[in-house]
Every structure is written in structure tokens, then in C-alpha cells.
Symmetry: C2
Subunit: 408 residues, 2 copies
């Protein structure tokens, strides 16, 4: 269950609740939108499809000491979120590329792959992402040089169903390929093969991830998502224009990068939108703590926590006095929860509204639920402000200019 | 040489130049400040001191397949910047902790260290950082269990000269220890042992880093730093309240995290200050590109580039048509530079002022120069607005509350 606590926001700005009728209308707008297919997906993917993903993933993993995830944006951040948080011990080493044009970066990657059997999962919704295709050329040349005719068996493809360069690549070399449904946008594709297939390669229990998302497709989740949407919209209206997503569990740091695309790309339009930023606590308190406490008062925080952080690790005893004897032998999980209370109290006291989102455990179910919750909340946030959550008209400006410069 | 190009900012907002007299006064204020010792440090550390750092680093490296850097904020971000960008091939694996209280994170770290000989570099200016001391307890218990009486030889300490818990630890176990000068604040300590010692462990040529910084201690650098400070202050005054630090070279991504602390912690005071955010291009164009192009028009960008990105890697030929034939056999470095021009043109056309900082090469000299340049520019930025660049009064609010809750 996802819970939303806005008490530390309401103390600073009123958060009016939409009427049931308003909420119903927003929900209807979402379901009527041609690009809302992701809403039903977690329940649509059945055991058979999951088994197909897992079989392909296991086959690749069995051949590889390292696997390179090639993709950008929605074709990378969802996968990386799940892998960073949930990869099993003993999984292959994970490397990422296809989201930049740096030759130095790719050269270093090739050095790191030396002496390691490797494979590739390449993902692009459009099938035409420049950086992804360029990186694929480099990696496929390396695979061919090393493995000859068996190179294609080391490449899994994820792409949309339309004709595209990546589709042609997959056909040309008969690579196993998985579809991103045509009506699911990149930033809503974490729970499609774009996120699930790479995650499965690293031993993530993707059936649990889907179960976590599907189990939440209920009135309670919708209630939580609306409350989060209402709070952030009210704060934005009250002049809080920057939202910092944070967690005190480092396993959620990459989820922040995914969250940033989800909300930034959905809302940042027509000169409007909450600016999305991220932090990892307590670490970033040592860098951003001063600003959050004392800088411009147009920030609010959204903090993701897990009700059971699971770890039983305790602060060890020490032979000498380092000032920590009062916490010796206590669980880190307990201390971390206390520190979180203390920090959020301090921020709220400093005028920073805090929204707290609580998921159950930081496992497959918890992350599946969190991802689905944020997707739903983002759609509600946008639709209740009259914004289309599924387009991104501004990205053409730079893409067109790059194509002109590169003559492609 | 560091160069600053503000033409894509001036086109959107005027950037008045301070008079020579005003600049002189700011420079004098900086040099008269009791905490400005870092200004001279790159020239002060001599060959003998560098040799001492390198000897200790080599001794640790020789024993270790993995080295854990334990520290937070200024005692971690500078080190990590240099290691991420410049670690040599074949260096030990790098792990980081001491900047969170997550038991799950530390447990995972212990799992990853299994079967690997490891060592520790622990760093804390105050010597009393809670998360750092707690993580040190965990790691030292593991070292003792594995290596018994020789455990202390696997720990290097970096701390201030005042009595502290970390100092007592170092004394108790006779660990080799290096000083952070008393008058150098954490966020200005990247070019002290806090950054240099861990970097040396991973094979970074720290003499080159210092040379890069010292070679820049010249009128040209001061000119560039003032121009950057003037531009960002003028933009802030004109209503551009959020600055995004970005680079098209992934090796500079971690420098962004360091930059964020430097500027955010120095300027975010009294309800004022530019909000510092970071991005890694082209990757984050796939997440934040829409917002930057089309969201709230109070953003500006500071983009770090390297005049020689060095890599000779070319886009390989391909047997089939993926649409990239016009760029086949061309250098990635060239394509990346063209993409950068295209993207920054698009952003400026969309109303986002862009400041471009150019360093020479992404090597030790280039990073040393960039670090020193940003430190100087930050001090100038603050002092010309009447802000103390070296205090952080707001961080006590959360620290006091944590201590109360944890009873320490």
C-alpha cells in the first residue's frame, strides 16, 4: 500500500481536496486518452509473457559476465531504477550507454569490457534514437569481432512496433525482440519490456514488480495519487515552484532520476511547470542542506520512504569513544527513521512543505507499486491542470537542430 | 586555460561588468577573509607533500582489490569527482559510504566486499560526522575480523587538526593521517588531502591536478571567474533563479554534484540564492529536455566543455541502413561538439541563457583548473553580493534535531 502524508505541507499552504465529481472527471479524461494504455498494463501482462521475458533474460545472463543496457530517457531510467535497487547478488556487471555521444565514454566502456563475456540489451521506443543507434554500432562491431556468427544471440532488442532502424537491425540479425506498446510513451514505459527485460537480466523478480503495480490498481491507490497531485498543484499555485524528490534509502536514488523525467517532461510546457530536482539523503544534506533550510522559499520536498527497510544491521560496539556510544548496538534502520523525522521537522520548520510517500518494502512489490503510483499521480496532476501528460512538443527543437548539424 | 563565453546569456539579459575598482575590492575581501587559505594551497603543496600522499596511496592500493571512500559532502564529492573522471585502468574497485544511515546500503556493501581484499580512506573535516563514524565502525569491525592486527594498515584518515572522534580513532590505531587545513571549509577542500588522497589511491596523477589549479592562479583566471560571477549574478537579478550545470562529457557528471554543493551551500542563505541543479547531456535531454525548452522561463544553464575531448573513436561502418550513414566513420568527439552547438542554440532560442565554460582537456590539469576556477568564481559571486561564501549557518537546524532524536 502506498500512503501519502501531506500534514507537513498543509501546515504551510492549504491543500483543497477536489470534489468526487472533479476527480471522476479527471479519471475519465485519463482513461479516454488514447495514450493511457499503460494504466491497464500491469494486469494485462500474464504469466506467459513474464516467462518469455525471463527465459530470454536467463539465456543472455548465462552467457555474460557483463551486460550493457543501451538506451536513453524512458528506455533507460526505468530499467536502471529497478536494476540499481533490486539486482540480485551475483548478477552480471551492469553498464549503461546509448544516452550520450562521448567517444571517451564509449572507449572507457570498451576497456572495461575487456576480458569479460558480454551481451547487450538495446531499447528505443522510436527505434531511431541517435545516441542509442551510434552506441549500438560500436558494441555490435565489438560483439562481431569477438563472437562472429553467434554475436546476434548476445543482443536483445526492445522497441515499438513501427518500422524503424532498430527494428531493421533486429530483423537483419534475427535478434530476439520485445515490444513497447505503441500507445505507451517512453516515460510511462518502466513496466513494459523497456524496464522489465533489462531488470530480469539482472535477476530482478519482475513478476513481483508487476504484482506490486497491479495490486495497487485500486480505489486506495487512486485516492493516494489524487492527494499527492492535489498537494503539489496547491503548492505550485502558492508559489512553490521547485519540487525536490528525496529518499533516505540510497536504493531509491535512481528512482528519483526516473521521477524527474516523468514529471518534468509531462508538466514542463507553455512556460509553466514545477521544476523537478532530486536529492539523496542524508548525503545531500551535506551539500544541499544549507540551501533547503535557508535558501529561496519556493521549494517543497517529496520524500519516499519504506515502512520496512528490512535491514537488521546494527551499529557495532567500539573499543574507544567516538561519541556514538548512545547508538551502539541499535539498528541502522531505526536510526535512519529517526534521522528522517528530525530532518523533515527541521525543513518544515524552515518553511519547506514536505510531502511524504510511504511504500511497503524496498523490494519488487514496493518498487512496482511506487512506479505505478507516480505514473498515476503525474497523469492526475497534469489533467487536473488541463495539461496533456503524454506529449512533449518541446523536444523537437533540439532534435531538429542536431539532425541539421549532423546532416542526418 | 579556462575560458568563459557569455554571449548566449547576454543575448537574453544584460551582464554589466564590474569596474576594476569593484573587482579589486572583492578580491581584497576574499584575501582578507580568514577562511581563504584554499586560494594559495595549490601552490603551497610541494613535491614532497605530494610524494607523501602518493606513497601512502600506493601502499594501500597494493594491498587492495577494492577501496571504500568513507565521507560526506565536501569530504566525498571532491574525491569522487576526481576518481570518476580520472581513475586509471586497473585501479581497485571504488566504493562509497559514510554519507547515509541506511543499514540496507551498508549490508549490500559488505556483500560486495566479500572475497575482495579491501581498504578504507575515511575523511571528515570536523572528525565528528555521524554517518561517517557509524560507517567506519562497520567497516573497521569487518577489517578487524578479516585482518586482525594488520587492520590499521588498511585505513588512511583525513581530518582537521582539532581533537575529534576521528582523530582519536587514528591515534588509537596509529593510522596514517593527513590534515585538512583548519581554515579551509569542506566545500573548498577538493584540492586538499580530502580530495587528493583518495584520488591518488585510484591512480589519479594528483601532481597534475595541483599543477592545473596552480597554473590558473593568474589574472586571466581571475578575469574568467569574475565574468562567470557577473553573468550569474546578473541573471539572478533578472529573475533567472535556477542554474543547471551540465556537460556533454559524462566524465564531468560528478563534478556537477560537487559544484552543486559549492554554490548551493555558499549562496543559499537568508531566503536568497540561485537554486543549483545538474544535468548530464545528451542523456538528460531525454528527461529534462522538454522542461528546459518549454517550462518555466527562470532557468539558465552553465555548460562545461573541454576544448580537446581526446577520444579518437569513430562511428563504425554498418552493413545495413540505420539512418546513420552520414555520420559513419566520423569521430564521436566531433559529433558530440556539433550536437552541443545545436542543443545550446535551441535552448537559447527558447529563452534559456547559456554560459559556456571551456577547460582544456578532461585530464588532471583540466579538472584541477576547473575545480579551482569554480571555487574562485563562487567566492567572487558571493562577495560581490555581500554574502559570506564560507559559512553555512542553516545546517545546524537539522543536525541539532538529529542529535536530539538519537540522544548523541
Amino acid at each position: 500500500m502506498i500512503r501519502v502524508d501531506i500534514s507537513k505541507a498543509e501546515a504551510i499552504a492549504a491543500v483543497p481536496r477536489m470534489t468526487d465529481g472533479e476527480r471522476f472527471a479527471v479519471r475519465q479524461k485519463l482513461l479516454a486518452h488514447p495514450r493511457s494504455e499503460w494504466v491497464g498494463l500491469p494486469s494485462v501482462y500474464g504469466a506467459e509473457y513474464v516467462a518469455r521475458l525471463e527465459t530470454a533474460a536467463a539465456r543472455l545472463r548465462a552467457q555474460c559476465g557483463a551486460v550493457v543496457i543501451v538506451g536513453a530517457g524512458g528506455s533507460s531510467l526505468g530499467a536502471r531504477t529497478l536494476i540499481d535497487a533490486l539486482a540480485e547478488d551475483g548478477a552480471p556487471e551492469a553498464y549503461y550507454c546509448g544516452d550520450n555521444l562521448s567517444g571517451a565514454y564509449l572507449e572507457k566502456l570498451l576497456v572495461r569490457l575487456r576480458g569479460k563475456d558480454f551481451g547487450v540489451v538495446v531499447s528505443s521506443k522510436s527505434g531511431g534514437t541517435l545516441e542509442t543507434l551510434a552506441a549500438l554500432r560500436v558494441l555490435y562491431a565489438e560483439l562481431r569481432a569477438r563472437y562472429g556468427a553467434s554475436a546476434p544471440a548476445r543482443v536483445l532488442c526492445v522497441t515499438g512496433d513501427e518500422p524503424s532502424a532498430l527494428k531493421r537491425f533486429a530483423d537483419e540479425y534475427s535478434c530476439e525482440t520485445f515490444d513497447i506498446p505503441a500507445n505507451v510513451g517512453g516515460r510511462y514505459s518502466a513496466l513494459t519490456p523497456a524496464g522489465l527485460l533489462p531488470a530480469a537480466v539482472f535477476g530482478v523478480n519482475i513478476a513481483e514488480v508487476l504484482r506490486g503495480a497491479a495490486s495497487e490498481a485500486e480505489p486506495e491507490l487512486s485516492e493516494a495519487a489524487f492527494r499527492y497531485a492535489e498537494a503539489r498543484n496547491a503548492l505550485y499555485k502558492a508559489g512553490f515552484g521547485t519540487e525536490i524528490f528525496a529518499s533516505f534509502e540510497p536504493c531509491a536514488e535512481r528512482l528519483g532520476a526516473w521521477w524527474r523525467q516523468l514529471f518534468g517532461e509531462s508538466e514542463g510546457k507553455d512556460g509553466q511547470g514545477i521544476f523537478p530536482a532530486t536529492a539523496a539523503f542524508t548525503g545531500d544534506l551535506h551539500s544541499m542542506g544549507q540551501y533547503i533550510q535557508d535558501g529561496r522559499r519556493d521549494l517543497f520536498e517529496t520524500v519516499l520512504r519504506f515502512s520496512d527497510a528490512r535491514s537488521a544491521l546494527r551499529v557495532p560496539a567500539s573499543e574507544f569513544d567516538d561519541g556514538l556510544s548512545p547508538v551502539a548496538l541499535r539498528r541502522f534502520a531505526e536510526l535512519n527513521a529517526l534521522a528522517e523525522e528530525a530532518v523533515l521537522d527541521a525543513h518544515a520548520a524552515g518553511g519547506v512543505p514536505v510531502i511524504r510517500i510511504t511504500a511497503a518494502e524496498p523490494d519488487g512489490r514496493g518498487f512496482g507499486a511506487a512506479v505505478y503510483f507516480f505514473e498515476l499521480a503525474c497523469a492526475y496532476s497534469c489533467l487536473s491542470r488541463g495539461i496533456d501528460p503524454f506529449d512533449q512538443p518541446g523536444v523537437e527543437a533540439y532534435k531538429i537542430r542536431i539532425k541539421q548539424r549532423l546532416d542526418i
